[in-house]
Point group: C2
Chain length 339, copies 2
């Protein structure tokens, strides 16, 4: 059994000991940073029960291992508290509990040879996993201290551009008319003042980040400012990769795919909009890393809950077989032409 939890939705996957998927269920946001520990635990419990019923199991069946991958899963003390409260409140839910980050869960779904995972959903995060399992991160600090290249960040950049233009504080890189209108419509406001409740009293990160979809529509329809914010997102996401590159083991560059970069989260659906910014930054970085000759972008075909389940099982000494040939697809590949 495994969970994957992001800023805006959760997914649970129930697996047999032989790695067969018995059930998959969706749920609301269970991020404990956003909804609090109690709601988080209840959300997880409800989804486990739903999955058991969906798989035709007795709801009282105790599962062997509950592997969870969630944003913020690096905070050891908070994670231990979450596990303690979960086993206290629902003692018969699972024999064991394991929590890792969304990034590591995703990586374990795609491969057991390592690579770089870049998450850009509501928030953003980047993690290098070397073949020996060592990890180096960049970002993942949430909207108050980063989240660069995420849906929240893209939405915020667009809205801030409107504010600064209206204030005459900064010249916008492109005309703001489209974005201003889209903002008024999405947030149902008529002036900048109307945005304040969306930023403070009634702030909901996932709702604010949802404006990114409207910006993607605008970019696809040809609006220059909408296109600009996605190019900026592509640049800064690539910059996260550049940040961890010096720590990547040589082997990671030498496979058939070159450096494997796993791209998770809904913002990657707008890859075509980010491509120019992304490839530009990686090309610039290539000059400083002679062994960096090729990279491939991968996307998961399975929920990253699968990786969480594998790591959860591994944590109690069990091997959950995963056929890595079917868990991820390459959607972009680039070889640097030698000068």
């Amino acid at each position: 059994m495994a969970f994957i939890m992001g800023g805006s939705h959760s997914k649970a996957m129930l697996l047999s000991a032989t790695g067969d998927i018995l059930a998959e269920t969706d749920g609301p946001c269970t991020n404990h940073w956003l909804v609090g520990v109690d709601k988080c635990i209840e959300g997880i419990y409800d989804m486990v029960q739903k999955a058991k019923i969906s798989a035709g199991l007795d709801p009282d069946t105790q599962i062997h291992s509950l592997g969870m991958s969630l944003s913020g899963g690096e905070q050891k003390a908070a994670i231990q508290k979450l596990i303690d409260q979960m086993s206290e409140r629902y003692p018969k839910l699972s024999q064991s509990y394991y929590i890792t980050t969304d990034a590591i869960g995703a990586m374990a779904t795609a491969t057991d040879h390592g690579g770089i995972v870049v998450i850009s959903g509501t928030g953003s995060n980047c993690k290098l996993v070397n073949p020996d399992g060592t990890q180096v991160g960049c970002g993942g600090w949430g909207h108050m201290m980063g989240d660069e290249g995420s849906a929240f960040w893209i939405s915020h950049l667009a809205v801030k551009t409107v504010f600064d233009a209206k204030d005459n504080l900064a010249k916008p890189p492109h005309d703001i008319t489209y974005v201003k209108k889209a903002m008024d419509e999405y947030f149902q406001v008529s002036d900048l003042m109307g945005m304040l409740p969306h930023l403070y009293r009634n702030f909901q990160k996932s709702h604010f980040a949802g404006f990114c979809r409207k910006l993607a529509e605008g970019a696809n329809a040809g609006d220059a400012l909408c296109q600009y914010v996605f190019i900026q997102a592509g640049k800064i996401l690539a910059q996260h990769i550049v940040a961890v590159l010096p720590k990547a083991h040589q082997e990671l560059f030498s496979g058939e795919l070159g450096l494997p970069i796993l791209c998770e989260g809904s913002v990657w659906k707008s890859w075509e909009l980010m491509k120019d910014g992304f490839t530009q930054v990686l090309s610039q970085a290539q000059a400083a890393h002679s062994h960096f000759q090729k990279y491939s972008l991968l996307t998961l075909r399975h929920s990253s809950a699968l990786g969480g389940a594998k790591l959860g099982a591994q944590n109690v000494g069990a091997n959950l077989p995963v056929d890595y040939s079917s868990t991820a697809n390459v959607f972009f590949s680039h070889s640097f032409t030698k000068q």
Copy 2:
């Protein structure tokens, strides 16, 4: 009777009809955006009662006009709600209520001829008031959409520089050792992860902004990164002035002081640290504004609650005499040398 309320503290001033100050009292943060309407109203009531007692008045005395200047005082609907709830809950408190922004309250304390007011306390805000009373603002959108040059922003810039350096996401402009150590001490953390509760679950804007004092100490002791963040603050605060400059009436430039710029809020205590950045941006702007030949920075000698009181009285047709020769001091003046 007047109130001034900032992000971290409140001040009340009780005046006679002839403009004499009968009592001045301090109180906790009463910003309704931060503490909620109920606590805000209670805080105001407590301070009014304290002021009456301190002035030797019967606590049941109804005051004539309660003028309040507060951050966020531009939101008409919220302000009306605040007044409605206040008069419903404490019907005998005051005969009339008037709310304006902290910026306008400060300006009305310094002069009735207009100028530019730049607030940099916990948050930041800039307002041009023309001699005819028309206003043009820049900033004042809070920490989620601006607050550039404020104590919060300076603290955030320093902390973000540490995060980005540790993440290798951006090269810091100067060594981070001092700031990292000061951050660990101020927030009582040992690693970046420890900062998360300060940014989310237990976020308190005024506490986060309080780190700015430690940075000022570091800057005064010679740390280059601490000095850098204050220079950036000086630049962006000046940029707020540049933003409203095109809307300033000619008369504002022609007085003896040149353009009067009223500087309010605790960050201005670090003027010497911001000076180079501030003067540089205004000098660059001068080229585009030929009538902009001189400016003077002023600081209030009285609480800006005085201006709130004057405007509150004015709102009910009363003139509260204020001797403007004694309400503000010039602390810096600059004439541009003709090329």
